[in-house]
Subunit: 350 residues, 2 copies
């Protein structure tokens, strides 16, 4: 890093930090770059993985009143989602909270309820943690999980010609945003269900385990920063490009919201907040993979093909994919962004 030490992290941006600082330092560590870090084998039957993430302000708290319940739920989900991308079974979560002294016990209990409810919903628990006072709320957790030997899902291992599969049902969070900001409408029970799913996204743990069991997923990542950012990172990890179809069959409610807003379904499918997985699988294995997932009640759709030319394109004409990519340490970082600009940035000007 000689010559760059006076640069700031903001100059480098998240991708620059990865490339110029972390890669030279940690690139040789097995599992570097994967969603979950590898701790090693603890027995002949398991490999341990761990992952840590901090929780940004949940979008649903910008859309309605702040409620730490949603932050707690999201904190657990974003960490468990990284375990899902490793095909791991969670062993537990350890949490680390920095909270202002003025936080009420009632607000704090909502935070803990959110974390605990999310853990229960995913079949795991809070095993321990730490708390300290500070001026700025900071919610961090670490999830630890276990993979079967040789079954750990990785980011690398994809091949040219592999198909990309999007696992999960995207579009609920941003459909909720469009509903809350008055740009679309749904009958009340449906709208309430969209809101519920936006507030309580779940990690694809079951899908991860199914994928690990099939042995057919050549590369896997979770969609934490949007589909474009995920596919781009997965491509970079494999020295490949991708041609996505730009088509997607949304669930009924997000589809209706997209239609009312004049958005193509893919515009909602490529947003973030629903914690799906992107999987690369051999062209001949796509049907077995999607059937195995659907057999366990998990939605999955083919969305494109990995290519050798390093480009990221969309649609039948292979035009450049103008996807969103939230990058930390950059001017466009969405952490703490304003709602009014977020909707435009994520869904584009219409």
């Amino acid at each position: 890093m000689s010559g760059t030490t006076e640069l700031t992290l903001g100059d480098l941006g998240e991708r620059g930090i990865q490339e110029k600082v972390f890669q030279p330092r940690y690139g040789a560590v097995e599992g570097f770059g994967d969603d979950s870090a590898l701790l090693g084998a603890v027995s002949a039957r398991s490999e341990l993985v761990a992952t840590t993430d901090s929780c940004p302000t949940p979008l649903v708290n910008l859309l309605r009143e702040p409620d730490l319940y949603h932050a707690g739920w999201l904190l657990a989900t974003i960490n468990l989602s990284d375990l899902a991308a490793a095909g791991a079974e969670p062993l537990g979560l350890v949490v680390n909270y920095t909270l202002p002294k003025a936080t009420t016990v009632g607000e704090f209990e909502r935070l803990l309820d959110g974390v605990d409810d999310c853990c229960v919903a995913h079949g795991t628990k809070v095993a321990g943690g730490d708390i300290r006072d500070g001026e700025v709320v900071q919610l961090t957790a670490t999830a630890i999980g276990r993979c079967g030997p040789g079954r750990r899902l990785r980011r690398s291992g994809a091949q040219r010609g592999d198909r990309l599969i999007l696992v999960g049902s995207p579009g609920y969070l941003w459909a909720a945003a469009l509903l809350e900001t008055g740009q679309a409408t749904l009958p009340q029970p449906d709208r309430a269900e969209v809101w519920r799913r936006a507030c309580r996204p779940t990690a694809q743990l079951k899908a991860g385990r199914v994928l690990a069991a099939t042995g057919l997923a050549r590369a896997t990542m979770d969609v934490s920063d949007g589909l474009f950012a995920t596919v781009r990172t997965l491509c970079e990890a494999n020295g490949l490009g991708a041609a996505v179809t730009g088509e997607f069959e949304l669930d009924e409610w997000p589809a209706s919201v997209a239609e009312q807003c004049g958005l193509p379904p893919f515009a909602l499918a490529q947003t973030w907040g629903d914690w799906g997985l992107v999987v690369a699988a051999g062209a001949g294995d796509v049907q077995r993979v999607t059937e195995a997932l659907r057999g366990e009640g998990v939605a999955a759709q083919e969305i494109g093909t990995l290519t050798a030319d390093g480009r990221l394109t969309s649609g039948p004409e292979n035009t450049p994919w103008q996807g969103i990519a939230q990058e930390r340490f950059s001017a466009s970082s969405w952490h703490g962004g304003e709602l009014s600009t977020l909707v435009t940035e994520v869904l584009g000007r219409r």
Copy 2:
């Protein structure tokens, strides 16, 4: 918690939060209250533990110029120290950094060097992590470790009449503070070595494993917030009190500093920052425990006895122990405190 939901966390203080919020919610989780959380058995040969801690501003950065190296080193040590208190062998660290965009790459590399060097010194490694931008520096890590079956050290299990043993060599950090603030002096090579040890405290991992192997430690805690706070918490976990002798044989350099400052050796021995362990052992086992530790090059001294009356006393007259206790979420929280008041608070007015 009905009736208390409008109280703030600052009203409760750290101990109140533990008692009124965490105990009712998590008290039934095995390992609750121990320095490391229990994740469960992963094989017939191991139990997994994990711990998470954030790093406060290192005292050495208040004494001289700020250097993120020291924060990085301390971040690793404080987490590994909790594994030591469980008698665990570390499997790895996952780190979580929030840093301002204006942080230079050079400063960031210093942080990473500190964490990495400390991990190497303890025979472990950074397995993975996360980074995001934020206005306030926040450094958090999680350490994951493995204990032999039935060998995990706990806070509870001590009995009336057990002896307290302080494991490690305390007093270096606050000797350095007294040297740096001109209240004592040492010849240069000695002073440099005191400073080095103050900057690079190590976790008692070897001692923890020796203790676990002997099976003679009935309760164990690390000294993270000072000896008084540690003994008080250990007593509360066991429904006991403690009578400490108030005597301690410091290493040569801290002893000289204490003498020059008119401090009894115990005043330096009961400070924080040196990451020792407190162990309760049967009166008849003290010699075997200390010899086992010394055989591995680890210092250990008996400092008192656990009593049935619930009081914390010091000295031959059993006067109330006026120890320091840094408590989070309280007015006296030392996180981010001023150096001038810290020296007085920790070492007392002289």
